[in-house]
Every structure is written in structure tokens, then in C-alpha cells.
């Protein structure tokens, strides 16, 4: 039987752009170009490698996000080699927090049908890194997260997790949710052929009602957290910059001494 892999990806504002908040204190998505979160490329890559190592696998990429998330997010994953896409798009989703997003993703993943869910380690905008754990909790399947190596064989997923104080080897039975880090291996570039093929791959558009989700459970209104204020960090006062003319190390030492670090 075919191995059903679902990769969850996020469309985010480019981190190298000048990211801001909108008036309602949600992420301003208009000011900066959006793209597929770079950390999710690693998830697509590992899904492709797992698929290549298995006799028969199908990869579906799922995203929850605005209109543009299809063209500028999902298509990238499809051009890398994923088979089909699912895009949950609904005005009611604007301003969702991680609880709302994980609810929608869980329903979407169940709608597709899965043996293995693959996520990136965190989004590059919200950067919480907890969505994969929440997805596992909601789906009631094992959480095998933050892997720098991952393999699937005989209905089992195994991997290596580099924690704060130790490196762990993990194993769980499928179905399971995994997340992979940026140490898991460089993501491939889409080939020209891949980009052309992606244009013809099917992307299913879903609304909340298609997934049986009440609109008031998501969006800014359904969020379980509230942002009261967002202020640009005051610019750091310009520091002293000296050119090394042979005494740079000593000058630096004098500065550190003045600040009582030595």
C-alpha cells in the first residue's frame, strides 16, 4: 500500500525584508514579499527522500494561508517534487494563533489521509516551533520532532534529535508527526522540468466549512492569546567604531574594562 506523506508548509513574509505589524497587530503581509518558509524546504526535502526510498509513496503539501500562499508557497514545494497540494484559504482565518492554525491543519491532514506528517522545525515569522507537537496532540499520534536525521522503514519512523543536553535516537510506529531541522540536509533546487510540471499538479482549495470548522474557533477572534502592543525596538545608540592600527585589541580591552567586564 502506498505511503501517504503530508507535508505542512507555511507562507511567510521574507525575513530579509523590513517586517512590520499591521494596525490590528497581526503580521503585515503586504509590506514585504511572501515566500515558502525556508525551514519548510527541509521538510519537503526529507519527504522527497523518504518517498524515493519507498516503493510507493505520495506526497501532499498542505498550507493554511492567504490567496498568494498557493502561487508563491505551495508551487515551490510542488516544483521541488511533491505530488499535489491542499490550500485552506478563508477570510475568517486572518489573525489565527497557533491553536487555531493547528486545528485547521489537523483537520486538513485528516481530510487528505496520512501515514506520515512532516513539518519544518519552526516558521521563520512566528518562530514558536510548537506546531508539530500540537498537531501530534490533536491527531493523537506519536510526536517525533526536531530531527536532524530521519528514516522510514517497516511502518516505523526513526530519527536523531539533538537536544540541549543530549543526542537522542527516537523510534515510533506510523502514523506519526515528525519535524526536521535545518541540519537534516540541504533542500534541492527545483529543476526547470520540476517548475513546468508543478504548473499542472492539482491543488485543492478548501474553506473552513469544507473541513467542518466553525469560523469563530479561528482568526483573531478565536485566538487564545492577545497582543496588546507592538513597538519597534529603539535603534541602538550608535557605538564607537575604531579601525585597528595595531592597538585594536588593547582599545577593545579598555572598553571592556570601562564596562566592568574585566
Amino acid at each position: 500500500m502506498s505511503l501517504r506523506i503530508v507535508v505542512c508548509v507555511k507562507y511567510v513574509p521574507d525575513a530579509t525584508g523590513d517586517r512590520h505589524f499591521a494596525e490590528d497587530l497581526t503580521t503585515d503581509r503586504d509590506a514585504v514579499d511572501g515566500l515558502l518558509s525556508e525551514l519548510d524546504e527541509y521538510a519537503v526535502e526529507q519527504a522527497l527522500q523518504i518517498s524515493e526510498a519507498s516503493d510507493d509513496a505520495e506526497i501532499t503539501v498542505v498550507t493554511v494561508g492567504p490567496e498568494e500562499a498557493n502561487k508563491d508557497g505551495l508551487r515551490k514545494a510542488l516544483s521541488m517534487g511533491a505530488d499535489k497540494g491542499v490550500h485552506v484559504v478563508d477570510d475568517a482565518l486572518h489573525g489565527s494563533d497557533v491553536m487555531g492554525t493547528s486545528l485547521v491543519l489537523a483537520k486538513a491532514v485528516e481530510h487528505v489521509g496520512y501515514d506520515l506528517v512532516v513539518c519544518g522545525m519552526a516558521s521563520t515569522d512566528g518562530t514558536m516551533g510548537v506546531l508539530p507537537a500540537l498537531l501530534a496532540e490533536r491527531l493523537g499520534v506519536p510526536q517525533v520532532t526536531l530531527l536532524s536525521e530521519v528514516a522510514v522503514a517497516d511502518g516505523q519512523v526513526t530519527g536523531r534529535r539533538d537536544g540541549d543536553t543530549a543526542t537522542e535516537r527516537l523510534a515510533a510506529s506510523l502514523p506519526a508527526v515528525v519535524s526536521v531541522t535545518d541540519q537534516s540536509g540541504e533542500a534541492r533546487y527545483p529543476s526547470f522540468k520540476g517548475i513546468m510540471a508543478a504548473k499542472k499538479k492539482p491543488v485543492e482549495e478548501l474553506q473552513l466549512s469544507d473541513l467542518g470548522i466553525e469560523a469563530d474557533l479561528v482568526g483573531l477572534g478565536g485566538a487564545w492569546t492577545a497582543v496588546d502592543s507592538a513597538d519597534a525596538r529603539p535603534a541602538r545608540t550608535a557605538g564607537t567604531i575604531v579601525k585597528d592600527e595595531g592597538e585594536g585589541g588593547k582599545q577593545l580591552a579598555a572598553f571592556l574594562a570601562e564596562r566592568k567586564f574585566i
Partner: protein, 320 residues
């Protein structure tokens, strides 16, 4: 007074510093009740009491070490049910955040991660966060349920505030998903003898400019003269010059030391995301146009192989 649960981060009862910082923050909201899972509660309890824990709820079972994350969620949920706290605080480690998130979902509460400060407020605790690679500072609240908040290391001082710290056994029954992910083996990270990167008061980092694994001793020597931790940029890690566990940045460790010294690091946004909240920032870079200089309190434009050894020598001489 309301009680506040604090999940203890420890290695066999040796309490890690971020937990003591959580106790400081918890006392701003209520009476801290520490939750100690795994071996070593007797070792940990006096330390927790000294820093304000009125009670220590302890549970030990092989599941905590043998399976990933979920057994600890089950235990924290049991503590939550026993105490009905005003808030739950957890350290912002990778595991801490995952435990906190799953607990929050189970108890129908919102979660805030990576807070850098916490104050009591009229509508519950107010968390300060540093977002978009520290370009913005936000204040947020949990608007549904009992606030579950994870806090970054170095966000609060460690304070002595002696309290009873009475140890009570916590009864935990593990659910069906607790044994889902087996920890087949665990290899503790070898100690370098240097301070932990996220806890250190001073961090000395090297980037692509260090130009080879063999040259990192220049960075290490400066770190050792200052009693500092060693960090690295992703370029240096990807090149195989330094371990990933020392990477500073968006996909490495986020550090907030008193002093950060960047050597041969350009200051890319993803690197900034991991160090921009440092109190004092210093850089050595041969390119006067490097973006890192926009952040510094003091910068030296020059060759790190000249500047850093001279600095090390001077630090050693001044300390001597």
C-alpha cells in the same frame, strides 16, 4: 495567594539556571509551586526552596526518560489538576516549549512562547516578547484559560527568597499516547568545561572569518580568558568548523548575555535573531560595511587574527 506552577528543568536533580529565573518571575504573580519530574527531587528541593518554591511536586517514573515529551505533559497536567494554578511557567528549551504547548491545548488555554519578561497585570500576566529578529517588542496576554508561558534564559535575575519547599509526591497516570515515541538511546553532550551557551553572561562567537576549524582556538582562548561560552555562526557550523550545538541564531541557540563578542561574523538577519537582545555587543570584522556594526556598542575594523589574540593577552594581563 494564587499558586503558579514552574516546571523544573534539571539533569538528575541539578537544577538548571533558567528554572531559578522562572521562580523569580513566578513570585511576581503568586506562590511558586515547582514540578520536578524524574530522579533527583531530593537534591533539587533545597535549591528550589531557597529560590521561592513553597512546594515541590515530585514524580519519578521510567517513562520520563524512556519516551519523548508526552509523559511529562501527562505529569504536568496532573500537577495542574492538583493545584489549579494562576499560570504555568516553563523554560523556553525545545522540549520545554513542546511540553507547554501540549499542556495548553489539553487544558484549553492559550500559550505564549519565548517571553523575555513577565509582569502581573489586571487581566493576567503580561509577557514581553522580542519578535521579527528582535526588531519589535510586543506585550501579550493569554486571553483564554490559564496562561501557559515559556520564558527564555537570562530574562530575569536569580533571587534568593527562602520558602518552605515541602516535597509532595505527585501521582501520575500515563495516557495511551505517553509511550508513542521511544527514546532508543541517549548520548549526553560532552562537557567542554565552559558555561552553557544560553546561560552564559558572556558569549564569544566566531563566523566564516575564522576560516577553519583549526583557527577556532583563537576564539576559545578569548572565551576562556573571560570565562565565556563559545558561539558560532551558521556559516562556521555548516563548514564543519564548530558543533551545531554552539550555533547562535534563528535555527541555533538564542542568547541574551550581558556581553556578546562577534568575530568574523557579518550580522545576517538570522544571526541577529539569536543575539540582538544581548545587553552589550562588540564586533571585530575586517569589513567596515558589515551590518553587524549597526548593532555594536564597540567595534573594531580589523583582522580578527591580529585583534583577538591581542585582546586575549590584554584581558589575561588585566585579570592577572
Amino acid at each position: 495567594m494564587a499558586e503558579v506552577l514552574v516546571l523544573v528543568d534539571h539533569v538528575d536533580g541539578a537544577v538548571r539556571k533558567p528554572t531559578l529565573e522562572l521562580l523569580t518571575l513566578a513570585r511576581r504573580i503568586g506562590d511558586p509551586v515547582a514540578v520536578h519530574l524524574g530522579a533527583g527531587a531530593d537534591t533539587a528541593a533545597p535549591v528550589l526552596a531557597e529560590h521561592g518554591a513553597v512546594k515541590v511536586l515530585a514524580a519519578d517514573a521510567p517513562e520520563f526518560a524512556d519516551y519523548l515529551v508526552v509523559p511529562k505533559v501527562d505529569a504536568l497536567k496532573a500537577a495542574y489538576d492538583a493545584v489549579s494554578p494562576a499560570a504555568v511557567l516553563v523554560a523556553s528549551s525545545a522540549e520545554g516549549k513542546e511540553i507547554a504547548a501540549r499542556l495548553a491545548l489539553r487544558i484549553g488555554s492559550g500559550i505564549i512562547t519565548d517571553a523575555v519578561d513577565l509582569e502581573a497585570g489586571d487581566n493576567g500576566p503580561v509577557a514581553t516578547q522580542s519578535v521579527f529578529a528582535a526588531a519589535f517588542t510586543t506585550k501579550s496576554r493569554v486571553s483564554q484559560g490559564t496562561p501557559v508561558i515559556t520564558v527564555k534564559p537570562n530574562s530575569a535575575p536569580v533571587e534568593s527568597a527562602p520558602a518552605a519547599g515541602t516535597v509532595e509526591q505527585l501521582t501520575v497516570s500515563f495516557g495511551g499516547t505517553a509511550t508513542g515515541t521511544k527514546v532508543v538511546s541517549r548520548t549526553p553532550r560532552e562537557s567542554t568545561g565552559r558555561p552553557d551557551l544560553t546561560e552564559a553572561a558572556i558569549v564569544v562567537s566566531g563566523g566564516r572569518g575564522v576560516n577553519g576549524a583549526d583557527n577556532f582556538h583563537v576564539i576559545e582562548a578569548l572565551a576562556d580568558s573571560l570565562g565565556a561560552a563559545v558561539g558560532a555562526s551558521r556559516a562556521a557550523v555548516d563548514a564543519g568548523w564548530y558543533p551545531h550545538s554552539n550555533q547562535v541564531g534563528q535555527t541555533g541557540k538564542q542568547v541574551s548575555p550581558q556581553l556578546y563578542i562577534a568575530n568574523g561574523i557579518s550580522g545576517a538577519i538570522q544571526h541577529r535573531a539569536g543575539m540582538q537582545t544581548s545587553k552589550t555587543i562588540v564586533a571585530v570584522n575586517k569589513d567596515a560595511e558589515a551590518p553587524i556594526f549597526d548593532l555594536v556598542d564597540y567595534g573594531v575594523v580589523g583582522d580578527l587574527f591580529q585583534v583577538v589574540p591581542q585582546l586575549t593577552e590584554e584581558v589575561t594581563a588585566r585579570k592577572g
